[in-house]
Symmetry: C2
Subunit: 203 residues, 2 copies
DNA sequence: TCCCTCATGGGAGTCTACTGTCATTATCCA
DNA sequence: TGGATAATGACAGTAGACTCCCATGAGGGA
C-alpha cells in the first residue's frame, strides 16, 4: 500500500510541485486502469496516455510498472505502532491496537483508495506476489516483537507461528472487508477474531 | 507443488511413453535452472536447450512458463485427506493428520524434489504469487470443511479466520523446515505448533 | 534579460514470452 | 509394408516491458 504523498509543501518551486503532481497523476490513472481492466491487461503506454505523459516519462518516475503499486513502508508503520504499546501488554493486544490505529488512520484519510488498492492486491494475480511479501514482512515484524518481549532468539518457531496466525487472521478479516465492499466495520471484526484466536479456535 | 507423474504404465505405446519422458525432462531441467539462476532469469529457450527440445515443443507441453511449476491438485489431495477423517473429530486434529499424511507420502517419495520446489516457492519473487494462490485455496478447502462440519454458511468469517490461522501456521512450519534444509522432522513440529494454537497463543 | 539546468517527448532498439504455419520425421495400425 | 496420424523443429512474427540518446522547451538564478 502506498503512503500518501506529502502534498506539496509550499516552500518548493514550481518545478518540484509539477513533478509531484505528475507522479500523483500517473499513479492515480494507473490505479484507475488497473481497477477497470486488471494489472496485466493495462500497458504502460495506456497509463502514460491517460496521465498525458510519454512512456519515457513514466519510466523516469517508476523504474518498473510494478513500482507504481508498491509501498515500502507499511511494515515500518506497523512496527512503529507496535513499539508505541506498553511492553508488558500481551502481543495479541498490542497487535489489535496497532492494526486498529494504523488502519483506522488510513481509513479516514483514503477509504476508497485503500479499498481499491487492497482489492487489487487480493484479486490481481500479478499483484498477489506483492501482497504476499507485505504479509511476510508484517509477520516478521510481529515475530520480532514477540521474540524481543519474551526473550526468544529471532528464529524461534513458536514466535513465527504465532505471528503467522495473527497476520493470517487479520488478512482474512481484511479480505472479508474487501469482499463486502468495505461496508462492514473493520475494528469489531478484528476484536472478535483475535478473541477467538486467544480462546484457541475450538471448532 | 507438482504431483508425481504416473511413471509409464506398461500398457501405453511408445508414443505416449516418449511424451511423458519429454515432459518430465523439461520439468526437471526447468527446476534445475530455476534453482541455479532463479525463475525470472531463466528463459524458455534455455529450458528448451537443456531439455533438448525446441522452444515450440516447450510450449506444446506447457502453455506458459509458469505452468511448469504449477500443481493443480494439491488442494484436491488435501481435501481428500480431510474427508477421510471422522466427521466428529475437531478440525484441528483432522488437519494435523491430513497434512501429516499427504506431506509424509510426498516426503518419502521425493524428498529432495519437494524441498527444492518448496524453497523456490518461498524464495523466488515471481513464484510467490503461485504459493499464495495455493495457500488461499488450501485455506478455502479448510474453511469449507469447517463450515460443513459445524453447519455455518460458506462465507462465515469465523471459519475463514480459523482456516487462515491453521494454514498460516502450517506454512510457517514448512518455511522453517525449508530454512533448515529439511533437516528437522516436520511432523513433531506440526504437532507442537497446532497444540500451541489450540491453547490460544498465550504470548 | 541571459544562460544553465533539468524535465520531457520522440524514436530507435533490445529482450523475452508467446502464436501460427508448414515441412519433416517418427509412431501406429490395418 | 504402406498410408494415416501425431510429434517435432524451423521460422517468421507480435506484443509489451524496458533502455539509450538526443533535441526541445520550460523553470530558476544572476
Amino acid at each position: 500500500m502506498n503512503a500518501k504523498e506529502t502534498p506539496a509543501a509550499p516552500e518548493m518551486g514550481l518545478r518540484e510541485r509539477k513533478k509531484l503532481r505528475t507522479m500523483e497523476t500517473i499513479r492515480r490513472e494507473a490505479y484507475r486502469l488497473f481497477a477497470a481492466q486488471g494489472y496485466e491487461a493495462t500497458t504502460v503506454d495506456q497509463i502514460a496516455d491517460a496521465a498525458e505523459v510519454s512512456p519515457s516519462t513514466f519510466f523516469r518516475y517508476f523504474p518498473t510498472k510494478e513500482d507504481v503499486v508498491l509501498d515500502d513502508d507499511y511494515d515500518d508503520t506497523l512496527a512503529a505502532a507496535l513499539r508505541s504499546r506498553p511492553p508488558g501488554e500481551p502481543v495479541i493486544e498490542s497487535l489489535r491496537h496497532g492494526l486498529a490505529d494504523s488502519l483506522g488512520r488510513q481509513l479516514e484519510a483514503d477509504r476508497e483508495d485503500l479499498l481499491l488498492r487492497t482489492r487489487l492486491g487480493f484479486t490481481d494475480p500479478a499483484l498477489r506476489a506483492r501482497s504476499w511479501d507485505e504479509m511476510q514482512r508484517s509477520q516478521d515484524v510481529v515475530a520480532a516483537l514477540i521474540c524481543e518481549r519474551t526473550g526468544r532468539d529471532p528464529g524461534d518457531l513458536d514466535a513465527h507461528c504465532a505471528a503467522a496466525a495473527l497476520i493470517a487472521v487479520s488478512t482474512a478479516v481484511v479480505r472479508y472487508w474487501v469482499e463486502h465492499d468495505g461496508k462492514v466495520d473493520l475494528v469489531p471484526l478484528y476484536d472478535r477474531q483475535f478473541a477467538q484466536l486467544a480462546a484457541g479456535l475450538r471448532l
